[in-house]
Amino acid sequence: MTVVLDVNWTVKWLTLCAQAMAEHRIELIELDRAIGDSDHGENMDRGFQAVLAKLDEATPETPGAALKMTAMTLMSKVGGAAGPLYGTAFLRAATAVGDAAEVEPAAWALALAAARDGIVARGKAEPGDKTMVDAWTPAVDAAREAADGGSPDLLSVLVAAAEAAEAGAVATDPLIARKGRASYLGERSAGHRDPGAVSTALILRAAVGAAA
C-alpha cells in the first residue's frame, strides 16, 4: 500500500493531532510551567478540539482546504504566542499545497518549509533561540533531503520530518531562550525543553500515524 497525501490523510492527521494534544496536554502544561506560564498544553488542546469540531461540521474538499480551516481555527482559538505562529504555519502550508487533490512528497517538503518560514516571519526567532523553530528547521531539512533522495515516498518524508523534529525538541534542553516567554528567565531557561518544540514534534509525529 502506497500512502497518498489526500484529504483523507489530512483529516486523519488533524484528528491524530487533536488526540496527541489531549494526551500530552498535561505534559505540555508542565513544560510551560517550568519556563513559561503553564498554558501551552491547554492552548493547543483547546485549539485542536476546535479543529475537530470544525471537521465534524463539514468535511473539507482538499488537503489545502483542511489546512486553511485549521489555520483559521488555531488563530481564533489558541491565543498566546502559539496561536498566531501555528496559524501562520498552517496558512502558509495551505497556500503552498494550493487546491491539489493529492500532494506529492516533494511538494509536502516545500509546504513544511513554507510553514517554517511563516513562523520565522511572524516570530523573528532564529535557530538556537529555544523555540518551536528549533523543531521545525531540522524537520524541514530532513524532509527535503528525504524527498530529494532515492525513494521519495511520502512515508519516508513524514518519518524523516518527525524524527528530526523530535531530535530538535530534545536539543532545545541546554539552550538559553532568546525569544518568547522563556527568554525572561535568561540562563535559568537552560535545562528545560521548549514546549512549542515538543508540540511541533507531536504534530509531525501524528503525520506519520496518519499514514499508517
Binding site: 519556563i35 491565543g79 498566546g80 504566542a81
Partner: protein, 333 residues
C-alpha cells in the same frame, strides 16, 4: 487547588458575565466572542482605546473600561493573549471614525494577536495605531530577546492615554502621550508565592517557605532570580534600585509612585512597602506627587507586589488627575 470557580473551562466566561451584571450601567459585554465595551461606545469624535491580554490580571483590563480610560477590553483565556477574532470586533466597536489605539503589553502572544487584528481592522478601513508597553526592568531589553515585558506601567498608560483621548486629542497625539508615559515609567516585581492557573491545577512555580522570586512578570512565570526572604524595607530597596537607575531619577524629579499588589497580598503590606518607597525616593531627591496603592494588575492569587515609578510633567499630571469612571478606577465623577 481551591478556587471559587465552577469549571476551569468556564472561568473567563462566567467571570465576565458577572462583571457585566455588576457594572451594567458602565459597560456592555459581548459573550461570543468575548469582549467588553464602554456602554456609550463608540463615542462620537473620540479616538478609541482598546487593550486586552490574558485573563487573571483583574481588574486589568475590563475594570478600566469607561469614561476617561478604555473604550474596549479583550480578555483572553487565563494568562493567554486573546485572539484576533475577539480583538477585531472590539476594535470596530471602539471606532468612531477617529481611529483606534491598541495598548499592547509586550509579550510575543499579545503582540502577534493584536498585530493580526490591527491588519484586519485596517482592511476594514479603521486607522489603528499601537502603543507597546514594556516597562519591566527585570528583563533585559535587547534586539536579541523578546524585549522588556509590559507590567504595572500598563495601568498608567491606559489612564493617561485615556484622558488624552477623552479631552479630544487626535490619533497621533494619543499615541504620543501613551508612548511618553511608557518612556517614563519603569516597574519591578517580586513574588512571595506562586499562583495556580485554573486549567493547570498546580502552582506556576515552586518556591520554598523562605525564598522569594525577584523580577517576576504577571503571568506566574518565574522571575529573574531567587533569593532568601527579606524584610519589606529590604525588598523595597531591591525593587526600586533598578527602577530608579533605569529611569535616571534625579533630584527635583516629580513622580507618581504605584505600589501594586499581585492579588494575594494584604493592602496593609502594600502600604508598608509604599512607606519605604517614599523614603527611598526622598533620599534620591524626588518628590512623590501622585500615588496609587492597591491591586490593579494582578496574577491571580499570587502574593507579592510590584513597584512602578512614573516621572511626571505638568501635562501627564493633569491627565492623571482628569476624571475617570471605570469599575476599578474612579474619581472626579
Amino acid at each position: 487547588m481551591k478556587k471559587l470557580i465552577n469549571d476551569p473551562k468556564s472561568v473567563v466566561h462566567e467571570s465576565v458575565q458577572g462583571f457585566g451584571l455588576a457594572h451594567a450601567g458602565l459597560v456592555t459585554v459581548s459573550e461570543d466572542p468575548i469582549y467588553i465595551t464602554r456602554k456609550d461606545a463608540p463615542v462620537a469624535g473620540k479616538v478609541g482605546l482598546v487593550s486586552g491580554g490574558g485573563s487573571g490580571h483583574e481588574p486589568l483590563h475590563a475594570g478600566y473600561v469607561g469614561k476617561g480610560m478604555l473604550d474596549a477590553a479583550v480578555p483572553g483565556a487565563v494568562f493567554t493573549s486573546p485572539t484576533p477574532d475577539q480583538i477585531l470586533p472590539a476594535t470596530l466597536a471602539a471606532n468612531a471614525g477617529a481611529g483606534v489605539v491598541h495598548i499592547v503589553k509586550n509579550y510575543t502572544g499579545d503582540v502577534l494577536n493584536f498585530e493580526t487584528a490591527a491588519e484586519l481592522a485596517e482592511a476594514e478601513g479603521v486607522n489603528v495605531r499601537t502603543v507597546l508597553v514594556n516597562d519591566d526592568v527585570a528583563v533585559e531589553d535587547s534586539l536579541y530577546t523578546a524585549g522588556r515585558r509590559g507590567v504595572g506601567g500598563t495601568v498608567l498608560v491606559e489612564k493617561i492615554a485615556g484622558a488624552a483621548a477623552e479631552r479630544g486629542d487626535g490619533l497621533e497625539a494619543v499615541v504620543a502621550i501613551g508612548e511618553r508615559v511608557n518612556a517614563n515609567v519603569r516597574t519591578m516585581g517580586v513574588a512571595l508565592t506562586a499562583c495556580t492557573v485554573p486549567h493547570a491545577g498546580t502552582p506556576s512555580f515552586d518556591l520554598d517557605e523562605n525564598e522569594i522570586e525577584i523580577g517576576i512578570g504577571i503571568h506566574g512565570e518565574p522571575g529573574r532570580h531567587r533569593i532568601p526572604m527579606e524584610n519589606a524595607d529590604g525588598i523595597t530597596d531591591r525593587l526600586l534600585e533598578p527602577v530608579l537607575a533605569d529611569l535616571k531619577i534625579t533630584a527635583g524629579d516629580r513622580v507618581l509612585l504605584f505600589v501594586n499588589g499581585m492579588g494575594g497580598t494584604p493592602l496593609s503590606e502594600l502600604y508598608i512597602v509604599y512607606r519605604r518607597a517614599v523614603q527611598v525616593l526622598a533620599d534620591a531627591g524626588a518628590t512623590v506627587d501622585r500615588s496609587l496603592v492597591g491591586n490593579y494588575i494582578t496574577s491571580l492569587e499570587m502574593q507579592g507586589c510590584s513597584i512602578s515609578v512614573l516621572r511626571l510633567d505638568d501635562e501627564l499630571t493633569a491627565l492623571w488627575d482628569a476624571p475617570v469612571h471605570t469599575a476599578a478606577l474612579r474619581w472626579g465623577m
